[in-house]
Structure formats: structure tokens, C-alpha cells
Amino acid sequence: MPTRRLLIAALPLLFATAGCSSADLFAGPDPLGGPPSLAPETVVLSSAISAEEHLLAQYRSFLSGLSGRGAGRTTTLLTSLLSQHEDHLTQLKARLVVPPGYHASASASPGASASAGAASSVARLRAAEQASAATLTRQLTGVSPALAQLFASIAASDVTHAAALAAL
């Protein structure tokens, strides 16, 4: 009669000859098959975070180049809007849970350069705000109720930003 030690030693051989993989030992995903893909809501949220970071970079880039006569009113407004976008980013990031080893958020790159001219950059910021609102509104359908409400609130804020920029 085989001993228990002999049975344990023979287990890998038994699985190999039966065509079993390590995944067959567990009810869950194969631990050797690499990490599972991110949940769809995490992907959408990551995309929203990247877009918010990009918008922030545009504001910072434009503000850093603002100077001269007439810049005061523009600077005051843009600084206020920038602060609200920072609040958006904080709330979005607070909802993101990414497993270790994933890189869910791409780095942002500046878009609107102040050197391109104040008027055209304000127009570009306005267009970016409108685009952000439209994107967030489209993304409402595939996310949880709580995240949908956050997206909708940020989209509403972006629309008011666009109107404020149009009034400059």
C-alpha cells in the first residue's frame, strides 16, 4: 500500500499525464496566467482621470505664460477654474482602485500654450471644457449610479466653465 508521502510526491506527475494545468487546481483564475483585465468601470474612470489631468495641464501651461495688461481678470478666472478642476481630479482619484502592477492612468501633456496667443488659448480651453462635458455625458451609461452622478456633476461644472470662458 502506498504511503501518504508517496502519493503527495506523485501528484504533479498525475496532473501532467492527465493534461491538467495549474488552473485546474482552483475554482478561480489561473494564478500563473497573468493578471486579469481591469474592470470596465475602472477603465472608464482611468480615462476620465487622464482627461482631467490633461485639462489641468492645459490650464497650468496657459496660466504660466499669462502676463501683461488685461491678464488680471483672465488670471483670476482661470485660477478659479483650475482649482475646481483640481477638486474634480481629487474626487475621481478617490474612487479609483487599481491592483498593484497596473498603470491605469496615462501621464498628461500640456495642450494649450500661452505663447499661442491669449484669445486663441482661451478659445481652446473653452473647447476642451465642452469636449470634456460631452465625453463624461457619453460615459454615464456604462458606470455605477454613484460614479454616473459624479461624472454628471463634473460635466455640469465643465459646461459652466465653458460659459465663463466665453464671457472673457
Binding site: Q84, L150, A152, A156, A163
Partner: protein
């Protein structure tokens, strides 16, 4: 830190809340508009008309879903005395805040078309609130502790 989700409502309940907010806005704009003049009064009249149209739209949506649209109240308690143009504008901003928050409930329902409808209505109301207040907000319709 995150913030808690608002209470999830059925589609009809969320539509009823939006309707109630529109009815309150219709009443309130009547009070606010009486204290305004010039461009502000024109804006108040335009927005009052828009709220009446929204009321009719919501009434139709509730009826189409088999619900009974709640009637407007005969009188609404105002949050403060409206005896100046400034108070009229402040009231208008507060009314729009209420409408924005009511449509936020629609964004949480399962029906994706209603979510989009609610979000677009929020954007319009938030825009009107910003007009009256003269400034924008980071999270129209939402209330939660600031995170810094």
C-alpha cells in the same frame, strides 16, 4: 475620501422629484422676477418659460410610464425674504441649485436614456445658477466634504 452615493430612486420617483423642483422654480421665478429689471428680468422671464416647458416634458414622461404627475403646491416657503434685486438673483440661483440636485437623481436610475436626459438638464440648470451667482461651482448638485 469619497462621498456616499445619493439614494437610488425608481425612474418615476426621480422624475417626480425633478417635476417638484421645476414647479418650485416656476413659483420662485415669479417672486424673483418681480424684483428684477432690465437684462436680469429678461433672463428670469426666459428661464421661467424654460421651467414651464420642462414641467410639461416631465409630466408627459411620468404619464407615459404609467405614473400620476404630482400637482404643484399652491404656495412654496421661500428660504429668505425677497425684497431687492440682489435677493431676487440669490433666490433664482438657489432655485436652480434645487433643480440641478433633483436632476442628479435621474442620473442614478438604470435607464440610460434618462441618465443622459438628467445630465443635460443638470448642465442647463447649473449654467443658469452660475449666471445668477456670477461664479461657477466644482460639483453642481452634489454635497460632500471637501477633499484636500
Amino acid at each position: 475620501m469619497s462621498f456616499p452615493a445619493r439614494e437610488a430612486l425608481s425612474a418615476i420617483d426621480a422624475l417626480q422629484r425633478a417635476l417638484a423642483a421645476e414647479n418650485a422654480a416656476i413659483f420662485g421665478y415669479g417672486v424673483a422676477g418681480a424684483r428684477l429689471s432690465g437684462n436680469s428680468r429678461s433672463a428670469a422671464v426666459q428661464y421661467w418659460t424654460g421651467h414651464r416647458q420642462a414641467r410639461d416634458t416631465l409630466t408627459g414622461m411620468i404619464t407615459a410610464k404609467g405614473g400620476a404627475p404630482a400637482a404643484a403646491a399652491a404656495y412654496y416657503r421661500l428660504p429668505f425674504a425677497v425684497n431687492s434685486a440682489g435677493a431676487g438673483m440669490a433666490l433664482a440661483a438657489q432655485l436652480e441649485d434645487g433643480v440641478t440636485a433633483a436632476y442628479l437623481d435621474l442620473v442614478a436610475v438604470a435607464d440610460t436614456r434618462l441618465r443622459t436626459f438628467g445630465a443635460l438638464a443638470m448642465q442647463a440648470a447649473a449654467g443658469r445658477a452660475a449666471y445668477w451667482r456670477g461664479s461657477t461651482e466644482a460639483f453642481p448638485g452634489l454635497k460632500f466634504p471637501p477633499v484636500r
